[in-house]
């Protein structure tokens, strides 16, 4: 039932909105609204019940294991939320004077310094509100760098075929042509293809390391030399930073610009699709182009650096300073874990992934890159099972929902057929992983004995399989009271 179907004309919440209409109204008649917007008229209790019930139809980290590859679904500590929501933080206006926000700015400055250290970059800007925006900032800076050097013939960005869809979408949004390069049988970038692709048109290379195939790109230093020798710059997509936190710094790998997803590695909530935060770090050569605002600490006072301080900046990407409340949560998380907690994250995430990979392999699942270590994630391919039984990766994913586990990432990366990208974050215990292995074994048995049942999954969710085709063909995007 939709919230609108609970609505009764003139039902109101008398304590939450002003009790009366005011007498003064200077809005000219021709600019006044005449129609009533379609908002429900429901009591507070009905609202609370409705949205509580809706929440219960969701899977979430707080209720289920989410082995969702490339998404780093780790536990979101409660303290990060409650301390970021202290009333002084919530009520602070973004344009309030800097001297009324020194406590908040201190947190932001320290977060910048911590992220610089973790990534090995020269400077960090916190303004980016999501991974894709971090990419947009990074590629815009690469463009600004080449333009500032009068190097305007560089029109191409090189991207491995295993990359997230945001990489090519970002390059195009920044006015570049995408040159896709293939992956070799071991899951590394094909170096011959890279050498053939670079040249005077190369503006840069976007790379995720460890890659979305769940393996560490061993020749990253050589890739860096090749791209730099051709005059291009290197972009690090930090989606998988969790795998190498405290172990390897992107700056040491030769990257010129990076983004890190705080809603992955630094445990800020995914919130059903955001808000995220994706601070951007740069090496010296890109420092002048970093987006503003940036927090500076001078003579014991914190202040915002703006266009006046940074005349070559690419500019602003948000109305204020990005997703401040998300940044606060990440700051609290890093302070809780401390320096010693950083490398532990990557160690236990990697332990979980390699353990789960080993256990699934023992069950007979085919590992896509069997000769490699898993990073914090790995890929199972269902190709052989599908050819033999007709059961697809998506069928298995839906059957996992029935057994109380969120599905792994399916059909990504695109180059591995019938793939499941599995990432068990470090906050998951061995018992949880063992329960997941047991569920995978049950499904394997079901595929052997009753494949049609598996193909028709899910069976035990509030809904059976959703008709996506109908959703796209008979578009119904807003509720119509007339039916």
């Amino acid at each position: 039932m939709l919230i609108f179907e609970h609505s009764r004309k003139n039902r109101r919440n008398y304590s939450q909105a002003p009790a009366t209409r005011p007498a003064k109204n200077n809005i000219p008649d021709h600019l006044k609204r005449k129609s009533t917007p379609l908002l429900p008229e429901v009591s507070e209790m009905d609202t609370v019940r409705h949205y509580t019930r809706l929440s219960q139809k969701n899977f979430s980290i707080d209720t289920e294991f989410y082995p969702l590859g490339s998404c780093t679904m780790k536990y979101n500590p409660r303290a990060c939320n409650s301390l970021a929501m202290l009333p002084q933080f919530l009520s602070r206006h973004p344009l309030a004077p800097e001297d009324t926000g020194q406590g908040f700015l201190a947190c932001m400055y320290e977060l910048q310094e911590i992220l610089k250290d973790i990534t090995g970059m020269a400077a960090v800007s916190l303004t980016s509100m999501a991974g894709a925006q971090g990419e947009l900032i990074g590629i815009t800076m690469i463009r600004a760098y080449h333009e500032a050097h009068g190097d305007t013939g560089r029109t191409e960005i090189i991207i491995p075929d295993a990359a997230h869809g945001t990489n090519p979408a970002t390059a195009v949004m920044c006015g570049y042509k995408v040159i896709e390069i293939p992956t070799n049988r071991d899951g590394d970038v094909d170096m011959d293809a890279l050498k053939a692709a670079v040249g005077p048109k190369t503006a840069g290379l976007m790379l995720t390391n460890p890659s979305t195939l769940g393996v560490f790109e061993k020749k990253v230093a050589e890739m860096s030399r090749i791209v730099h020798a051709a005059g291009g710059l290197l972009y690090y997509d930090g989606a998988n930073l969790n795998a190498v936190l405290g172990k390897v710094k992107p700056g040491d790998m030769g990257f010129d610009v990076i983004h890190m997803n705080l809603h992955k590695t630094f445990s800020t909530p995914h919130g059903g699709g955001g808000p995220g935060a994706a601070p951007v770090g740069v090496a010296e050569r890109l420092l002048p182009y970093l987006p503003v605002p940036i927090v500076a600490h001078e003579q014991g006072v914190y202040r915002w650096l703006t266009e006046e301080d940074r005349p070559q900046t690419i500019g602003r990407l948000s109305a204020h300073m990005g997703n401040a409340g998300v940044l606060l949560r990440a700051y609290i998380y890093v302070r809780l874990l401390g320096a010693e907690g950083m490398h532990r994250i990557s160690e236990y995430a990697t332990l979980n992934a390699n353990y789960l990979m080993a256990e699934l392999r023992k069950l007979g699942f085919e590992i896509a890159y069997p000769n490699r270590r898993a990073s914090h994630e790995f890929i199972v391919t269902m190709k052989e099972i599908k050819d033999r039984t007709g059961v697809t990766a998506m069928n298995l994913a839906k059957r996992l929902l029935d057994k109380g586990f969120h599905a792994p990432t399916t059909y990504f990366p695109l180059l591995v057929p019938e793939c499941l990208l599995i990432e068990p974050a470090e906050t998951e215990s061995k018992e949880t992983l063992d329960r997941f292995v047991a569920a995978m074994k049950e499904i394997l048995d079901e595929i052997a004995t009753q494949p049609d049942m598996v193909k028709a999954a899910p069976h035990d969710m509030p809904l059976r399989k959703i008709d996506d085709v109908k959703a796209a063909r008979e578009l119904d995007l807003v509720w119509d009271p007339a039916g």
Binding site: L31, E64, A79, H93, I114, L336, V478
Partner: protein, 453 residues
């Protein structure tokens, strides 16, 4: 170990299963020369008690003020139920709803949001959010250029929020899209129609139309919308969602209504919190829906014909279309939309109207009181919504400092963005301000003016 549940026995068993001697061995594919040294700038870990103490101290340092600042972010009362429900773990810690069967709660909520937002804007459809108002405007400009096909120029009045213009320029410049600015009329604070007419013979993909504009002033939206349509440009509205309860919605502007309406969603139940996270909303006409960026939710059925919800029109998006997507956006501001949907449900049409009407009435009352002070006058003689520009006869920065010392944040200086508007304050009094608050502002301003004279 904080947030890591493994016991020593667990680790030993897991390593045995893997066939490795140590956790360190699992990193043996990383070249030794890349392995990092120590982290020097990350302090040692704190307990929950210690970090709580630190954060309480930092929060206390920032304190509370009686604020009359608006300029794109507005203080409104947020009912207690909004964030209590929004921070339930099932909303807070869930993922983007790709697995529809495991995400019906979020998906249905977003469908309800799309319905509310589209209706509020008087438009046909809405997406499930963008990052914030500024980036939503930039996406609207890109969308207009895709739809228009022949022009790569956008006409933007200087009455649009200056930072929105700046963000838009940063984003569209990459695609060689030109942003052309139209000055404001210094008497009315509205788009200068005579200046606009200089562009009558040129081709533009879109005209951006703010309502209310950055000065709080109401624009002649019908005439502007028709002006755009008469020259085959799209009309793109930038609106305050609270104001839509009172003001004619973009879908009803002019003869045909605006084509796209975007804005900052923060006033709908999102705390100010130093600038974010907020959310951008985007609504449009049905015929433009395939050009929209971001997530869109559709109502459909399951195999057995039961009502359900799913992400739809995904062929526009980066995870399917990669380099041919309408935008690179992936993560949006889902949790903020959750809060906004609960906020709009709790208030209903009459509640939201009253919030808007009291914000308007309070600002009208404040301006009337302040205008009576010697050395204060309205910068523009036009109707306004819940913000107004006031010109002072003395240096306004000094006045603001005096007000701050009395615990009052008196507004923002317009001179930083509009060099012609010397000593001019943009002030806002939402429904959160009482008659006593308005009197306090009037009294401390009176004192500050006297001291500065």
């Amino acid at each position: 170990m904080p947030f890591i549940p493994h016991t020593e026995e667990d680790v030993a068993e897991m390593l045995t299963s893997i066939g490795a001697r140590s956790i360190d061995e699992l990193f043996d594919e990383i070249p030794a020369e890349l392995k990092t040294g120590k982290l020097t700038q990350v302090p040692p870990g704190l307990s929950e008690m210690e970090i709580s103490r630190l954060m309480y101290e930092r929060a206390q340092q920032d304190g509370f003020y009686l604020s009359f600042i608006g300029a794109g972010a507005y203080e409104h009362h947020i009912p207690a139920a909004v964030w209590q429900i929004t921070t339930r773990g099932e909303f807070y810690s869930s993922y983007t709803p790709y697995q529809a069967e495991a995400s019906q709660g979020t998906l249905q909520l977003l469908y309800e949001y799309q319905t509310m937002m589209a209706s509020l804007a008087g438009m046909d459809v809405s997406n499930a959010s963008l990052y914030d108002g500024a980036s939503a405007l930039a996406e609207a400009a890109l969308m207009a250029v895709r739809q228009h096909r022949t022009s790569r120029r956008i006409l933007v009045p200087q009455t649009v929020h200056p930072v929105y213009r700046s963000v838009m320029r940063t984003i569209v410049r990459n695609q060689a899209i030109e942003v052309v600015e139209v000055p404001y009329d210094p008497a009315t604070g509205q788009v200068a129609i005579d200046k606009l007419d200089q562009f009558a013979q040129e081709e533009f993909a879109a005209l951006i139309i703010p309502q209310p504009n950055f000065f709080g002033v109401l624009e002649q939206v019908d005439a502007l919308t028709d002006w755009a349509h008469d020259k085959q440009s799209l009309a793109v509205a930038v609106v305050n969602p609270t104001s839509l309860a009172m003001l004619k919605p973009p879908g009803e502007w002019g003869r045909r209504g605006a084509d796209i309406a975007v804005g900052e969603g923060q006033p709908l139940g999102i705390p100010l919190s130093s600038g974010g996270p907020y959310f951008g909303f985007m609504t449009c006409k049905q015929e433009l829906v395939r050009q929209m960026p971001g997530r869109i939710i559709g109502r459909t059925t399951d195999l057995e014909g039961k009502e359900g919800f799913a992400l739809t029109l995904q062929a526009r998006e980066q995870h399917i279309r990669r380099s041919k997507a309408t935008s690179n956006i992936c993560t949006n501001q889902g949790l903020m939309v959750t809060a906004a949907t609960i906020y709009m449900s709790l208030l209903g049409p009459e509640g939201l109207y009253r919030v808007a009407a009291h914000s308007h009435a309070n600002t009208v009352a404040l301006v009337e009181q302040l205008e009576k002070l010697p050395g204060v006058k309205k910068a523009f003689h036009s109707p306004f919504f819940h913000e107004a520009a006031l010109q002072l006869s003395v240096p306004a920065d000094k006045v603001l400092n005096r007000l701050k010392a009395q615990g009052v944040l008196g507004g923002v200086l317009l001179e930083n963005h509009y060099p012609d508007l010397k000593n001019t304050l943009l002030v806002c009094a939402t429904e959160t301000k009482t008659a006593e608050d308005l009197d306090k502002y009037t009294e401390v301003l009176r004192q500050a003016l006297a001291a500065s004279a």
